[in-house]
Symmetry: C2
Subunit: 564 residues, 2 copies
């Protein structure tokens, strides 16, 4: 893993570069941040030839270490107009690392409006013109490519939403079953890939094997320790059993699971989408949970079957059940599963498009609770009426179209399914993270209704997230005491690379990533003035705890002052 693959879509040429020595400890999000900050003008239009898309596995992706296979996609976001990294599971990262690829940098734009794929194997990379793939849905696309290149490829792709350059479009990654169910979903990065004319990156790692660490025994020992920690961790046990929907019972009672477009309050039939219910229903239909990447010990991903016993969707997550479910007044499990499948197929972020549809409901264009209308609108995303395309550009865009002023976004991005009034540390993260309103950028539910201490919690969580996003570790595999990961990482990285890192060094991977991202955003005109949540979240009391987001603004603005 020491090659950088630079793909120039203006020249239609591939350049293989040796990764600079000082990039050794840069991977995933951290590497993406460094490259973007070095190479992309901060004020570039995100869909212009000046912007670049970086695809980078984490620092431990191709090893035997479990749950380290997340892949980072990074770019200047068409949605937030800031730097953005969005990562996902699946098999692509492991394969890329095993092929020795530290990052793919996609730059330039083809002169003609054409559709290409990038095919990568042990011989290198080719840019192939594939007009027949234009417009394909992600599932159809993945199987077409698997038919051609073999079942074992990894596919990184965009659906019609990315091709149409919708600012809520995703980049899909195939999972262990070969399904495009894992998504680098936030920030509209699918539109950047679309603007480069790339429909898919096909990764064929045939002939490669797992990366051997420098010190194998130490590496294996640490893995054993990590697996032990995870097996004894109660919250991970629940995630393993029920997937992310296992939290619904708790979060809906706390109020942090959004309902009725963030007005809050109970939604009839919510027990239909409890993790426990889903598990029962799904098992009776022959569905299961699996690990989205090989070797994962948490295995939280729900492979969901429909009433007919056939596969309907994979990776039915809490956020989707909230943003296309309760936040729209919907608790029809099968309908939400169908929406999830449609979003995966279209390549659109369920959080962003869900929040956009909530704006339609707020304006009375469609009724809260009308799951069939939601399905119709998702169908229209592909073509049809402009309404589909409008929601495909997200919540802020849809609100502007409708003339609404109560818009649950921060820095242009829909606030995800953790209401900051009931989970104040994540509220601080939404305000201050260079990623904007991303729960995965720094989540901490401890003492979550109190305003005290949340800035410190958010900062710690943000540093940890930036660290694990750089090594490719999955945040769903984080033990309850996340900070123990630093010790684990010290051992794994030293054994893998033969380095002599200590905890501070590993923490600095996260800190330096944040600094790089904050620097980019500063150059893109981002100031402390943007560290703010929508007025209604500071004014309207959220049931059942009657809380507002009331963390002191000065304290929030000071969050990174001593980052170094």
């Amino acid at each position: 893993m020491n090659k950088i693959m630079r793909i120039d879509m203006a020249e239609l040429k591939v350049y293989i570069e040796n990764s600079p020595q000082n990039y050794q400890l840069l991977g995933g999000r951290g590497l993406s941040a460094r490259i973007l900050n070095t190479e992309v003008p901060a004020m570039a239009h995100p869909l212009s030839h000046e912007n670049k898309l970086v695809v980078a596995p984490g620092l431990l992706a191709g090893t035997m270490a479990p749950s380290f296979g997340r892949i980072s996609c990074g770019s200047k976001s068409p949605l937030t107009k800031t730097i953005k990294e969005s990562n996902a599971g699946g098999t692509a990262a492991q394969k890329l690392d095993r092929l020795g690829t530290k990052a793919i940098i996609i730059q330039g734009m083809p002169k003609e409006n054409q559709t290409y794929i990038i095919y990568i194997d042990t011989k290198g990379a080719q840019i192939i013109n594939t007009p027949d793939l234009s417009g394909k849905m992600n599932y159809d696309l993945a199987s077409t490519l698997q038919d051609k290149y073999g079942k074992d490829i990894g596919v990184i792709s965009i659906g019609p939403a990315g091709e149409a350059k919708m600012t809520a479009s995703t980049i899909a990654i195939t999972d262990q079953d070969g399904r495009p169910s894992r998504h680098a979903a936030r920030g509209g990065l699918g539109a950047v890939m679309g603007s480069k004319g790339i429909k898919a990156i096909v990764i064929n790692a045939k002939g490669t094997k797992s990366i051997e660490p420098m010190y194998k025994e130490r590496f294996r020992e640490t893995i054993r320790d990590l697996v032990d920690i995870l097996k004894q961790d109660k919250s991970r046990q629940s995630v393993s059993k029920f997937g992310t929907p296992g939290v619904i019972n708790f979060l809906s009672q706390l109020g942090s699971m959004p309902s009725w477009n963030y007005h809050g309050g109970p939604v009839k039939g919510i027990e239909n989408i409890y993790g426990e219910t889903i598990s029962k229903v799904n098992q009776s239909r022959g569905g299961r949970t699996h690990g989205c990447m090989p070797g994962c010990v948490v295995r939280c991903s729900i492979v969901f079957h429909g009433e007919d016993g056939q596969h309907l969707t994979s990776a039915l997550e809490y956020e989707t059940l909230a943003m296309l479910g309760t936040n729209l007044g919907i608790t029809n499990l099968d309908a939400i599963a169908q929406m999830d499948r449609m979003c995966d197929d279209l390549g659109i972020d369920t959080i962003e498009v869900g929040s956009a549809i909530a704006q339609l409901m707020e304006a009375g264009v469609i009724e809260f609770g009308d799951d069939q209308k939601v399905i119709e609108i998702l169908k229209e995303l592909r073509g049809g009426s402009p309404i589909g395309k409008i929601v495909g550009h997200g919540a802020a865009f849809t609100a502007q179209f409708l003339g609404l002023d109560r818009v649950p976004v921060s820095k242009g991005q829909a606030i995800p399914a953790h209401d900051p009034r009931a989970c104040k540390a994540v509220g601080v993260t939404y305000c201050t993270s260079p990623m904007g309103a991303d729960h995965t950028a720094g989540l901490d539910y401890r003492d979550s209704l109190s305003r005290e201490g949340q800035v410190n919690r958010s900062r710690d969580a943000q540093i940890l997230s930036a660290t694990i996003d750089s090594v490719g570790y999955c945040y769903l595999a984080l033990p309850a005491k996340g900070q123990v990961m630093y010790e684990v990482l010290v051992k794994l990285l030293n054994a893998r690379y033969g380095t002599d890192l200590n905890t501070e060094d590993v923490k600095n991977i996260g800190i330096n990533t944040l600094k790089e991202e904050l620097a980019f955003n500063h150059s893109a005109g981002w100031t402390d003035a943007h560290n703010i949540l929508p007025e209604f979240m500071r004014m309207e009391k959220l049931p059942p705890n009657d809380v507002v987001f009331d963390v002191q603004q000065e304290e929030i603005d000071a969050i990174f002052k001593d980052l170094g």
Copy 2:
């Protein structure tokens, strides 16, 4: 002119306040900036109850001085998300000043979605619920109100676009003929008025008379001098004769008149829209030019008649002929006049909507030059398909919808009909003015193709614009040597208010206005990073002079460093 009329739309109450003594030299744009900077949180959502709309005549509006009757509308803009002032001629400013009203501040929002008018006369102001006026076009609205309240009222109103809170919507002001042809057009302020539930402000100044200056004779003398200057000024003579379209011959040859969505190059039949042609055609049909406000000596406003000899539109301006004409490849005079009438009626900015339609043409949704399709789309703005509503939100919004990256906007606002590549001082203004891409914020065509000295020219022009926007003077009545206005203003203000101002003091009216606005924008998260034009204007050569916008960025960023 010492009353501030505060209209609270949440309480549906009117409060008459005495203007603070230190507001004496604040009027129009300067007063609006002070009030907004004091009362509106910079990060407020522009359509929320936190935002306010300020309507303020200039400091000399109600006197006998000619061309001082522009009215300032100010607010946080839904389009640029910064402070915005947009001013227009017509009769409202004179009437308000004569009624002793220094400013109207509209705040809060009605609890129910209702339509109101504000009726103002010598007895005060009333808020009247007028459900029957909802949805009316501006022309119909103005005559309905004139039938009810008398021919001699001034009307400040919004059309369906403002009611739908489109971010390209305007605030219309009736002219001397009682037609809603003058528009505070830029920045989507009609949407703010719409969000407050106000369809119109009706001003009945019956029983009032012209404001008597403190020193009448000195005042009259200065007016005589000003009229002499204007009568001898060649450029004003041309404006008087041909209106603003008189510049088309010159600007199209220079290249600064945009064509083909800012790709540039000749447009067949452009001679059909030369000021000279329009004048000839219009006179033959019984049309004329007139002064939009009583007493104007320039009288540049074209009252245009259709082929049938009937009134078709008033105030057919250069910017409209460019943005709905040449920039769309259209030179059909009658079609453009019809579009202008439709935009006035809908209450939509011809610059912004024209640029949005150019994006549709760039994407191939409609053909360049297809004037009938443009008319169809403008019809759809009122209801119909979402495409109309989309262009009603302006160029940046439309480009996002279409996935385009070559977008001629600065700070979210469409660049008007003076291409910065061929008029570099105005390019510096677009980059740095707190108003964003507004030609009226600082225009200077001297040595316009050279990059040298343009920052100084822009700064001088911006200070002068901010000054005359505060006294309500029309920039179309500026003599070629604009700086002589400071001397004129010293004399007029001293004679009007009995003050003892010198040139420096008057210039400080403009400087302090800019400082107030820049401070607001700073608090709204605006930095030097935003002082930038779209990449294509820095890269693509504009015919016929093969120029790019190449003023040094560092020099641009330093423009206000010594403002004091």
